[in-house]
Symmetry: D2
Subunit: 151 residues, 4 copies
Amino acid sequence: MYKGAAMKLDPVLSISHTPIRVRFCETDLMGIVHHANYLAYFEEGRVDWLRKRDLTYADWAHRGVHLPVVEAHTRYRSPLTFDDVVEIETRLSELRSHSMRYEYRAMKGGVLLAEASTRLACVDPKHQLQKIPADLVKQLVRGETAPVKKV
Amino acid sequence: MYKGAAMKLDPVLSISHTPIRVRFCETDLMGIVHHANYLAYFEEGRVDWLRKRDLTYADWAHRGVHLPVVEAHTRYRSPLTFDDVVEIETRLSELRSHSMRYEYRAMKGGVLLAEASTRLACVDPKHQLQKIPADLVKQLVRGETAPVKKV
Amino acid sequence: MYKGAAMKLDPVLSISHTPIRVRFCETDLMGIVHHANYLAYFEEGRVDWLRKRDLTYADWAHRGVHLPVVEAHTRYRSPLTFDDVVEIETRLSELRSHSMRYEYRAMKGGVLLAEASTRLACVDPKHQLQKIPADLVKQLVRGETAPVKKV
Amino acid sequence: MYKGAAMKLDPVLSISHTPIRVRFCETDLMGIVHHANYLAYFEEGRVDWLRKRDLTYADWAHRGVHLPVVEAHTRYRSPLTFDDVVEIETRLSELRSHSMRYEYRAMKGGVLLAEASTRLACVDPKHQLQKIPADLVKQLVRGETAPVKKV
């Protein structure tokens, strides 16, 4: 999974931001967002990060390329509550031949609420490690494409 | 979906019971179980109901038979709270050529907390309606098989 | 819960629309959105409906007014898949002294994928039925307020 | 949060095991359990670990003692699929004056599928760090109490 050297990444091109509004059902009886839901937020950030580079899950899956999360690490600093709008900052922080790593920051009003990282392995439909295809690598490092109409 | 007459069902053979303990993450900021989670409980009840008749999702899927929920109706009477053990009573209440209906009661200490029903359509892998295969119908109506070792 | 006659509602003022993008974690092994997640979508629609009338959960809770879902009914017509943007049409369809009913339509590209309704009871912090306060009723029937800056 | 030295813990007394059956709704379109759900499994393991030492969330909350997760780390090795029975091994691995750390192993048929750790801070109802009360510490280190009737 750690095969090959890490590519050099442009820190500016590697970042995207995604606002997410906390749902009622994501809170727990402590009145705050349950910690497991942050992984859903970070995933939404990552999917949006890819979309902003014209990459979709369908593209990858169509070519037999899958990117399961093989490691996740989250530090929770301050709680999120219902109806908060949290901004997820998603950054590709490491790109290797067979895996990639994203880092995330959950911010509200400029305050850091949580930070996290996930490692994704590039596997084929039989869950065997494979190289990330070269053209996909290009799309991963080029930064956001022209902004598209927000839905 | 309502094709064909409903089969006559033996009310005793049609019932199974499944205890479920409420998870922390299933509560919301009102301090009670969020209403959407009941559908997960009823589904767990239904899966257990099938297992107790030697039917597994794998059996059905292997034969290209899928049973998506096409309708769900729940009445919430009294709240469930964290760590409660709720007993789900699952009953096959209607069996037709292309669909089936289950009814559920969520009980705690003999008190009815919620009641529900779901209709499931029998479809093929392309989401087209198909008849429920005859041998599966037999397994659906015969009642629980000998108890198996609890995990 | 059905106390009192239903108020007459203006159908135009009673509707709001909320776009929601399907998350990866909301799909199941059938490749489609799991049926329980629709209740989260409808809740998000309802919360947005209230926000567009300057009503927030915090307002209600602060006054000891809670609105638990006491009944939910969903018909699933066509599946939703990952990354779909579904438009939730939320409509207040019944307003009584102690309860209210919302109806929902989940649409994609003009196609109706699911329709649903939920009944909400107005209760105090001890889960006892209470009248919906008169000024809140006014806010419920007046329609959307001036559009606010989208986050 | 790391205040004070870590207590010496008896490795045998510090472990409990909890079997969990994977729910249909916990899978995703890749056909495997979505990675966020493991945090729910580990939480269920931890709640069960506490229950086996006669400790319940209600006990703690009643005394104004809360234990939010402040850090979580998971390594996913092999996927879990629908209907699998996964055994969660929960171990108290670090006990300090104001925080504790649990480690988890998700096993199936003797095979390690995932391993994880979570750090929990001891806070008061205002989310301020506080010492774990001495009598609760005693209950945390003494091992499982006599087995209770399984529900």
